[in-house]
C-alpha cells in the first residue's frame, strides 16, 4: 500500500493498461445533451439521434438565421400587409432540407454508407426533423405577423412540395446548393405564375385546386429521392 502514489512498480496483478482504458473512457466520454438523450429514446437508436443532432441545418447558427429571416418577414408583414412570412417560409424550409443530408454536405459520406444505421434512415429522420422545425418556426412567425388564418396555414402544403423538390435536386446532383437553387426557383416560378394568371401571387397559397398538384410534386420528388439513395447496383 505504501508504494501507491510513490511512482514505484505496481503489484503484478494490476493491469495498468486496463486501468488506463477505464480512466480514458471516463475522461474522453462525451455527455449527450438533453435533446440527444430525448431523440435517442424516441428513435430507439443513439446512433440515429447523434446523426440527427449533427444535421447542419439544425445547428444553432442555421436556426438563428432562419428565425431572423422569418422575424423580418413578420415585421414586414405587419408593416405592409403583404403576407411575406407565407412567401418566405417554404423557401427557408427548402434550403434547410437541402442542407440536411447527402454527399455534398457529409464529408464522410462513403464511410456513412457502410454503417448499420442506414443512410436512408438518417435521411428520413433528418428531413422529417428539419421540416417539423421549419413548420413550427413558420407558424410562429405567421401568428406573430397577424396574417389571416387561411394564409397562415396555406403555405404548409406548398412548403412540402418545395422541400421535396429541394431534397430531390440536392440528392440527385449531390450538391446542397443545387437543392437550394431548385427549391427557390420552383417556388419563385410558382409565385410568378400565380401573379401572371390572376394578378395575385397569394393565389398559390389559397387555391385549393393546387393542393393535388403540390402533393403530386412532393410524391414524385420523394420517389426520386428513394431511387437516388438506393444501394447502387447494376452497371451505373
Amino acid at each position: 500500500m505504501s508504494d501507491i502514489g510513490t511512482g514505484a512498480t505496481p503489484p503484478p496483478d494490476v493491469d495498468l493498461d486496463r486501468v488506463w482504458i477505464g480512466v480514458a473512457a471516463q475522461v474522453w466520454r462525451r455527455q449527450p445533451g438533453p435533446a440527444e438523450r430525448t431523440a435517442g429514446r424516441l428513435l430507439r437508436s443513439p446512433g440515429l439521434a447523434r446523426a440527427l443532432l449533427t444535421t447542419p441545418s439544425l445547428l444553432l447558427p442555421w436556426l438563428i438565421a432562419s428565425v431572423a429571416v422569418l422575424a423580418v418577414g413578420a415585421v414586414a408583414t405587419r408593416g405592409t400587409g403583404e403576407p411575406l412570412v407565407a412567401l418566405l417560409a417554404p423557401g427557408v424550409a427548402g434550403a434547410g432540407i437541402a442542407y440536411a443530408y447527402g454527399p455534398g454536405i457529409d464529408p464522410a459520406w462513403e464511410l456513412s454508407r457502410s454503417m448499420a444505421v442506414s443512410d436512408r434512415m438518417v435521411l428520413l429522420v433528418r428531413a422529417f426533423a428539419v421540416f417539423a422545425v421549419n413548420a413550427v418556426l413558420g407558424l410562429a412567425a405567421s401568428f406573430a405577423s397577424g396574417t389571416a388564418a387561411a394564409l397562415t396555414f396555406g403555405w404548409l402544403i406548398p412548403m412540402t412540395a418545395v422541400c421535396a423538390l429541394a431534397l430531390a435536386a440536392a440528392t440527385v446532383v449531390r450538391s446542397p446548393n443545387a437543392g437550394v437553387a431548385a427549391g427557390l426557383a420552383g417556388w419563385t416560378i410558382t409565385l410568378l405564375s400565380g401573379q401572371a394568371a390572376t394578378g395575385q401571387y397569394t393565389v398559390v397559397l389559397s387555391a385549393s385546386a393546387l393542393v393535388p398538384v403540390y402533393l403530386a410534386v412532393a410524391a414524385v420528388c420523394a420517389a426520386v429521392v428513394a431511387y437516388a439513395t438506393r444501394l447502387p447496383k447494376g452497371t451505373t
Binding site: A24, W28, A108, E110, L111, S114, M115, T236
Partner: protein, 248 residues
C-alpha cells in the same frame, strides 16, 4: 470463411472495374496488391456493402449482403477505412470514433471503453480531445483506422491504410494488423509491397479487374526466380514478374 466471392463483377458504364473475381478469406491478414485502376478499391467497396456487384455471388460473414437484415448484421461486424476518408473538422478524435461506433449500432454502455481502446491502439491517446482540423494527414489516417476497429470487427477492410504514415507509424501499424488478424479477416489494399511482406499471410494481385496471382508473400517472391523482373526488394520483383507475365 468470412469472405466468399464467386465470379464477382462490377461495371461502371462501359468500364468493367472488377471482372470475374473469385476469392475466399478466413481469419488472417489478406493483402490486395495491384497497380492504379486494377479494381482494388471497387472490390473493397463491394465488400464494404457500399456498392452492389453487377453480377456474381458475394457472401460476407456467412450472410448475403443483398438483403436488408443480413446487410445490417454484416455492417455491425464490419470495419471500413475508405481511400478518401472524409472527416468532420469540428469533431475531436474521440467524438469522431464515438460517432461511428454509435452508427455501427454498438451498445451505448460499451462505447466509451471501445473508443478509448481504439484511440489508444492507433497511438492517438494524446490527441483524443484534439479537433480533427488540427491533425496532420497521418494522424487523420490513424483516426480513420480507429473508427474502423472500434467495434472489434470480424471483417476489416482497409484501403491504402498506410498512406501518409511515417516509417515508425507504419511499423507500429503492421504490428496492429498482425494482432487484428489473429481473430478477424483483415483485407488491406495497398500499393506498398513491403506492407504486404511484413503483415500479410495471403496476398492477391489484381490487374485490369482480375486476380492474376493468389498465394502467400513467399510464393509471390518466388515468381521472380529466373526472371529479370524489376524491383528493389524480392517481393517487388515477384510483383513485377507476375504483371509482366500477364501482360506479355
Amino acid at each position: 470463411m468470412n469472405v466468399e466471392i464467386v465470379d464477382l463483377t462490377r461495371r461502371f458504364g462501359r468500364t468493367e472495374a472488377v471482372a470475374g473475381v473469385s476469392l475466399q478469406a478466413g481469419p488472417g491478414v489478406f493483402g490486395l496488391l495491384g497497380p492504379n485502376g486494377a479494381g482494388k478499391t471497387s472490390l473493397l467497396r463491394m465488400l464494404a456493402t457500399v456498392i452492389q456487384p453487377s453480377s456474381g455471388t458475394l457472401r460476407l460473414l456467412g450472410r448475403d449482403p443483398g438483403s436488408y437484415g443480413p446487410r445490417r448484421e454484416i455492417r455491425r461486424r464490419l470495419g471500413y477505412l475508405p481511400q478518401n476518408l472524409g472527416y468532420y473538422p469540428g469533431f475531436t478524435v474521440a467524438e469522431f470514433v464515438e460517432y461511428f461506433a454509435l452508427l455501427k449500432d454498438m451498445p451505448p454502455s460499451r462505447v466509451p471503453a471501445a473508443v478509448a481502446t481504439a484511440v489508444e491502439r492507433t497511438g492517438l491517446g494524446d490527441k483524443a480531445r484534439a479537433k480533427l482540423r488540427t491533425l496532420s494527414g497521418g494522424m487523420l489516417r490513424r483516426a480513420g483506422i480507429a473508427q474502423a476497429i472500434v467495434n472489434e470487427p470480424d471483417l476489416l477492410l482497409l484501403d491504402e491504410p498506410t498512406a501518409g504514415l511515417d516509417p515508425e507509424q507504419r511499423v507500429a501499424f503492421r504490428a496492429l494488423l498482425r494482432d487484428l488478424g489473429e481473430r478477424a479477416t483483415v483485407i488491406v489494399s495497398t500499393h506498398l509491397v513491403e506492407d504486404v511482406g511484413a503483415a500479410c499471410t495471403q496476398v492477391a494481385l489484381m490487374d485490369a479487374g482480375k486476380v492474376v496471382f493468389y498465394g502467400t508473400p513467399a510464393e509471390l517472391t518466388a515468381r521472380a526466380d529466373g526472371t529479370d523482373a524489376a524491383g528493389d526488394a524480392p517481393l517487388e520483383r515477384g510483383y513485377s514478374a507476375v504483371l509482366a507475365a500477364v501482360r506479355s
